[in-house]
């Protein structure tokens, strides 16, 4: 039995799918519905869709599109991007989203996490934490919408988020994003050591060995973007996902 989830993470930008490198240079990778259909056919464990411009451009989630995604997904689907209110969350849950993912709206005030988890249960509420290492190699909390560091210790913010009711933490190593050069195992270890809720590690997976390393470091689940959408040294777009038995052998 596979005890650790492997989750493709799809980035949405103006209705199309893109893949970034270190949170920049979005490269168009195709139509999201088509990609979601392929991932559904491949029986992926779970799927995560993050709208990377919604918060930055202060836009509403694209409900019509999200509802279409949900109708193609016979596995759990989480969505993040531009969520600021209970009403928006309600609308997303109604569209068929299982879990919502928060960051920008809660960086300074976690009360939305409190309110959402009281109503929907903490297992439906994820908090995404982006961490970027500074020139000394020290991990710092990073605000994806502004590109700034909010000046709070990332581990403190993570524990506060759990206390507020986050049922899962998505930990993204900004410097590894899209590089496919391996995950930040030290960061994952540090987080897993102090977390009581599941940890989803993201950023840098380029091989099954990288995924295994993250799980060995304590991640409950591993998410990846580039690894599942790019093929070969020239990063040709090709959607892939390991076979279930392969994953069981690797992580079982």
């Amino acid at each position: 039995m596979l005890k650790h989830r492997v989750i493709p993470c799809l980035l949405l930008r103006n209705g199309g799918l893109v893949k970034t490198t270190r949170f920049a240079d979005p490269k168009y990778v195709g139509d999201p519905i088509n990609a979601i259909r392929i991932f559904n056919d491949k029986e992926v464990d779970e799927l995560m869709v993050l709208d990377i411009t919604a918060s930055k451009e202060k836009k509403e989630p694209n409900y019509t599109l999200i509802e279409q995604f949900a109708s193609e997904c016979f596995m759990p689907l989480s969505y993040g991007g531009g969520i600021k209110t209970m009403e928006q969350a309600q609308r997303l849950f109604n569209s068929g989203i299982e879990k919502i993912c928060l960051q920008t709206a809660v960086l300074n005030d976690l009360s939305l996490v409190n309110n959402l988890s009281a109503k929907w249960g903490s297992s439906s509420i994820l908090v995404s934490i982006d961490v970027k290492r500074n020139w000394l190699g020290q991990p710092k909390l990073y605000a994806a919408a502004t590109g700034k560091s909010p000046g709070i210790k990332w581990t403190d913010f993570m524990l506060e988020a759990v206390k507020a009711g986050a049922g899962e933490i998505i930990l993204n190593a900004v410097d590894r994003d899209g590089t496919m050069k391996g995950m930040d195992v030290e960061l994952i270890k540090e987080a897993a050591k102090i977390l009581s809720v599941p940890l989803v590690a993201v950023g840098g997976a380029g091989s099954l060995a990288d995924i295994k390393a993250a799980v060995d470091a304590g991640a409950s689940a591993v998410s990846a973007g580039a690894f599942f959408v790019f093929q070969g040294p020239h990063r040709a777009v090709l959607i892939t996902y390991p076979k279930y038995n392969e994953l069981v052998q690797l992580l079982g």
């Binding site: 759990p76 299982e98 977390l195 809720v197």
Partner: protein, 203 residues
Amino acid sequence: MIYIVNYGLGNLNSIRNIVKKIGGESKIIDEPGELSDAKKLILPGIGAFDHGMRFLNERGWIDELNKTVLEKKIPVLGICLGMQLMCRGSEEGVLPGLGWFDADVKRFQLPANSPFKIPHMGWNAVQVKKDNPLIEKKEEEQRFYFVHSYHAVCNNPQDELLTAVHGYEFTAAIHHENRYATQFHPEKSHRFGMDLLKHFIAI
């Protein structure tokens, strides 16, 4: 035609989508009065126990649901919180449950240093505990998607339909007479969930 009870909590569209996918028909019902001609019911739900019971109470569902399920014996499938609400009560809340199962809902008890996290979130294989119309015993691993921090404990072992292991073996599905319930989400469990729901449609 499956009626999906909309009492304000739950992922109704996911259930509609999968029923449609497997060739069934469903309708979301928003008023207790609509239960009068129900032939088959799904009670969905995500979120906190008391929240769910309060919604059922405030919107006047309880008497009609009891009549439909306990007197008319219409087949019903509870999912996730829907299953927990069908038990007698939960450690998560103070309100009494529907009491359709002689079972109580308890929080996962894992030692502090356990490698297993709470909530139990992810795919897990199930063991079939008795012959039943919903799911066959198979050689092949049958796996489903779970998201929960609490699980049912049956007082009558005969009611236990499926179990799974997360730190220890717990009840993953319950069956008593016309009542079926799963802790996991069949609507989010690929072909395994489709098979289970096909069987429910065929009951």
